[in-house]
């Protein structure tokens, strides 16, 4: 039965009728799109011959899901959104309600949750069960928070688009890996050393790109990231090439206690408690948390100092900056160096945590993920970036846990493989709904006498 579409009918049709019609169209489009992608699959059989697997059931599931989704969206979600919009427009004055408790104390709550997280996990799952949650979720996410906050200095504050940030992460990691394994120096000496080394390379990168901005700068930094990776791969005598460096020493408890079971000052022996690998993970968690706090503290302080203000002004208008007597050369170099330094810290922590580094960990994708976190979170906003890291990295880690999906999609289904798809989808959705990231507003740093509450209507940019 052919459905004729005319504008008049559209007006008379109730939302449900219209939704039904649109659902049919959506199903037809989905069928056309996916019949070859999902309905048929090439595979190899036991004798290595190419065979065609037919998956009509899966195709049906996808098509039906599309139709149902479209039906619900057009029939119920859209009218509801229209109503909400109309309601909002009808009562614009009431919109300026005070933010809720969680909103107002977001940072304090966040810090408290982060501090208590390992304790809560240990109480819930015991020491052995806590390993995965503290390591894969806690430490992994916090490394990315730190990297993103470091990159935020370069991109969010100084406005220098850096696509090769992972290079500094690599410099930090290899600095610790090489100096730690060859000279046996401790983490606590090498952490600042790795930071300095990365900062040095930040300046090295900064010099040639001083005159570049925007796309051009992005391309050169991208190349820089690749150069560092290729040097690591090819400089076999020093870096052991793509085989990487293993046996990187663990971090000690400030030199007082060790986390190696064989050492005489092993933490469990000193404190007289049961042996467990969880102590080290929990210690690492607090270590990276401390490093994150350091990054945040430095960022917040710097924004109120002349150099931080100059970074932000530089992002806005370079020519105006120079005419105000700001040395844009040193300003840019300090931004690169500071951002790189935190990348170096994170790198040396990463090496200590993994005990193994190889060029595989420092591919362009890493730079892209860190950049995506900064953009999604809202450039310049520490809270937003932390949330974005939680969603992005935590979300991809969660995928590994979703074993029940195998029951739905068959035993071959590995949810991790869809990581990048979800990453992309999340980016598109966030950019559609919140083009400036989770937290798009910028906290002013200058006030006349006292801190004045700035109402939203003053700071929001006009919609045009």
């Amino acid at each position: 039965m052919a459905v004729t579409v005319s504008p008049e009918r559209d007006v008379v049709a109730t939302p449900v009728q219209r939704a039904f019609r649109e659902a049919l169209y959506a199903a037809a489009i989905a069928l056309g799109l996916f019949v070859l992608f999902i309905g048929l699959k090439t595979d190899q059989n036991i004798s290595n011959e190419l065979i065609l697997v037919q998956r009509w059931g899966l195709l049906a599931i996808v098509v039906i899901a599309t139709a149902v989704g479209r039906f619900l969206y057009v029939g119920y979600a859209q009218p509801a959104m229209e109503r909400a919009k109309a309601q909002k427009a009808a009562a614009p004055a009431a919109a300026a309600t005070a933010p809720g408790f969680i909103r107002r104390n977001f940072n304090q709550i966040g810090v408290a949750v982060l501090l208590l997280y390992p304790v809560a996990i240990v109480l819930l799952f015991g020491f052995q069960g806590s390993l995965k949650w503290v390591d894969n979720f806690g430490i992994q996410i916090l490394i990315y928070v730190m990297l993103a906050w470091g990159l935020n200095i370069v991109i969010g504050l100084a406005g220098l688009l850096d696509l090769g940030y992972v290079a500094f992460y690599a410099v930090g990691a290899y600095a610790y890996a090489l100096l730690g394994t060859h000279f046996g120096l401790s983490f606590w000496i090498l952490l600042p050393a790795a930071g300095l080394m990365a900062a040095f390379w930040g300046v090295m990168l900064g010099f040639p790109v001083l005159r570049l901005r925007g796309d051009y700068l992005a391309i050169v930094t991208l190349a820089f990231g690749e150069i560092i990776r290729l040097v690591i791969i090819n400089w076999r005598e020093v870096t052991n090439g793509s085989a990487g460096i293993s046996g990187i020493p663990k971090v000690s408890f400030f030199g007082l206690m060790s986390f190696n079971v064989s050492d005489p000052n092993y933490i469990a022996k000193v404190l007289g408690i049961a042996q467990s690998g969880a102590y080290y993970k929990i210690f690492l968690y607090y270590l990276i948390l401390g490093l994150c706090f350091l990054t945040a503290f430095v960022t917040i302080r710097l924004r109120r100092l002349p150099v931080g203000r100059a970074w932000e002004a530089l992002r806005e208008d370079e020519i105006a900056c120079r005419s105000l007597g700001i040395n844009t050369t040193t300003t840019k170099l300090t931004a690169f160096a500071t951002g790189a330094m935190f990348g170096g810290f994170a790198g040396s922590f990463f090496a200590a945590r993994q005990g193994f580094v190889s060029p595989e960990s420092f591919v362009f994708l890493e730079s892209a993920i860190i950049l995506a976190i900064v953009v999604l979170g809202g450039m310049g906003s520490l809270g937003g970036i932390a949330v974005a890291a939680l969603v992005m990295i935590g979300g991809t880690e969660i995928l590994r846990e979703l074993d029940f999906l195998k029951a739905v999609f068959g035993p071959d289904f590995t949810p991790e493989l869809y990581r990048m798809l979800l990453f992309g989808m999340a980016m598109v959705i966030v950019m559609l709904w919140k083009p400036r990231g989770f937290v798009g507003s910028r906290e002013p740093t200058a006030f006349l006498k006292e801190r004045r509450a700035v109402s939203g209507s003053f700071t929001k940019e006009g919609h045009g």
């Binding site: 020519i319 105000l324 007597g325 700001i326 006349l448």
Partner: protein, 242 residues
């Protein structure tokens, strides 16, 4: 009133690639003066402004500021000689608030005179005080111009360069801005060098004026002389007062 020469531009030539924008320009500004440079679009007025700041750099000639040769100095060093500029297109920092913009202007002294100078700017432009917490990009054109001048004043300049302060503004706002410039000159003895297409307003305001055509200074004289000059009248003033 006119004292020693503060800014002396001699035989300056500036190029964009191979195209010559300034053909040996001579301009001088004495302490306490308001000097106006008028001319049509593309005459090289803004280029001269930018050349004073070394971007682009003069290929020939010298620029001297209170006895120091600043021709080859880096731009930020020139600004540190206490030359402040409200550049063409205002160039305020759009995402930063009015206060932060003013703070950036006071970078040279690291905010030493900040509180005092902020009050002065707000006395001169009360409108800015009303907009204090607003972002620069959300201000109106006139307010942005006020902010741009205010930001330049925060640097405690000996010489204020203004590039087309009246561009795109309503006549009433132009008058306010010109009044403010006159006020600054009268009460604080601030030396001002301004570039304008609004020749009538600028020459009325100025102690002396220069006329620029195709990268050459073709005429100079006191503001009154130029206003009365038939050639200037024909080229820049006829067709209605601004």
């Amino acid at each position: 009133m006119a004292g020693t020469t503060l800014l002396d531009i001699k035989g300056v030539e500036t190029y964009y690639g191979n195209i010559r924008a300034l053909n040996g320009v001579d301009v001088s500004v004495k302490e306490g003066e308001i000097v106006a440079l008028i001319g049509a679009n593309g005459a090289g007025k803004s280029t001269l402004m930018m050349t004073i700041f070394g971007a682009p750099r003069a290929r020939a000639g010298t620029i001297t500021f209170s006895g120091t040769d600043i021709t080859q100095m880096p731009t930020h060093e020139i600004a540190r000689m206490r030359i402040a500029q409200s550049p063409e297109g205002r160039r305020i920092f759009p995402r930063m608030t009015v206060m932060e913009n003013l703070q950036m202007g006071a970078s040279l002294d690291n905010l030493k005179y900040y509180d005092e100078d902020v009050e002065k700017v707000f006395t001169l432009f009360p409108r800015l005080k009303e907009r204090i917490a607003q972002r620069g990009g959300t201000l109106s054109g006139g307010e942005q111009q006020m902010l741009s001048i205010g930001r330049a004043l925060m640097a405690r300049p000996k010489l204020l360069l203004l590039d087309e302060p009246s561009l795109g503004l309503a006549p009433l706002i132009v008058k306010q801005i010109f009044d403010a410039i006159r006020e600054l000159n009268r009460t604080q003895g601030l030396t001002v060098f301004l570039v304008e297409q609004n020749a009538f307003g600028a020459l009325k305001l100025a102690t002396r004026g220069y006329v620029m055509v195709n990268g050459n200074v073709t005429m100079s004289g006191t503001g009154k002389e130029l206003l009365a000059n038939p050639e200037v009248r024909a080229a820049y003033l006829e067709g209605g007062h601004h």
